[in-house]
Symmetry: C2
Subunit: 157 residues, 2 copies
């Protein structure tokens, strides 16, 4: 479950240049191709690497507005709310949390006006008592994993 330095270099390399294959990666890392193949297999069966899906930009799809909504849920309605939100395409992720609200979800919309429609759809459900929305203005640190991978690799040696 812990990754070593070579694993870290491999993941970072693949994150920076996803198009390179196993062979090119082995050249860059200075190890045999079989080693890279074995490491990749292990990382994937470990679950460290979930896959290599396309990284789609919602903004380029026509959904440039992102927001986070904190939801307050009626007791015992959790499962229903989860199912409801799972059916809304503009809900990109949903977490249940400690703290002020009960759930936190990430939304996207075509415009600020469209965000109103999305929020109406999200909160238009019996189990949701209240919603508080924060619209994203800037995204100084886009979702990233490389620094954490480097940290994890360094922790091992």
């Amino acid at each position: 479950m812990a990754i070593d330095h070579l694993d870290g270099r491999l993941i970072v390399l693949l994150a920076r240049e996803p198009r390179i294959g196993v062979l090119e990666a082995s050249r860059r890392l200075g190890v045999a191709r079989g080693t890279v193949q074995a490491r990749l297999d292990r990382l994937q069966s470990n679950g460290v690497i979930r896959g290599f899906g396309p990284d789609v930009d919602p903004a380029a799809l026509g959904y440039p507005v992102t927001a986070f909504a904190t939801l307050e849920i009626k007791q015992g309605q959790g499962a229903d709310v989860r199912a409801h939100l799972g059916g809304v395409p503009e809900v990109l992720e949903l977490h249940t949390t400690t703290g002020h609200g009960d759930m936190l979800c990430r939304l996207v919309a075509r415009s600020n006006a469209d965000l109103q429609r999305v929020i109406d759809r999200v909160v238009g459900f019996d189990g949701i008592v209240r919603a508080s929305t924060a619209i994203v203005m800037e995204n100084p640190v886009p979702l990233r994993i490389i620094p954490l991978v480097e940290q994890a690799a360094a922790d091992t040696g």
Copy 2:
């Protein structure tokens, strides 16, 4: 910038089975290989598909705890705070938002105890006035894009 039905099917296919290549994708979609190649090139130069980086699971890396922190920033300290948080590996993303706080960031940690260390590091900076943290318990809807892609493709034709 808008995607058509074939683009949508292609993205969904690649998201479901990332390992298949251009040739296999063309077979599945029932179109010529050149078409798939051209579509992919266009989607990538459009920025709709940013890349095919490895999808790394922080939990499998040894960081099973996720939290969202809402930060309140001292006026005029935005840039410094951004730089500070960008230097913390456990900060996976950072947004500036409207609403109660000024910034929202996603954190991971090795344990609840370790989260305290991470938060201390995050807020141990002059420009940050206050922080409010929500720990993630469950993740009923993991970060996803397929429903939105299908929506966007359906909107076109």
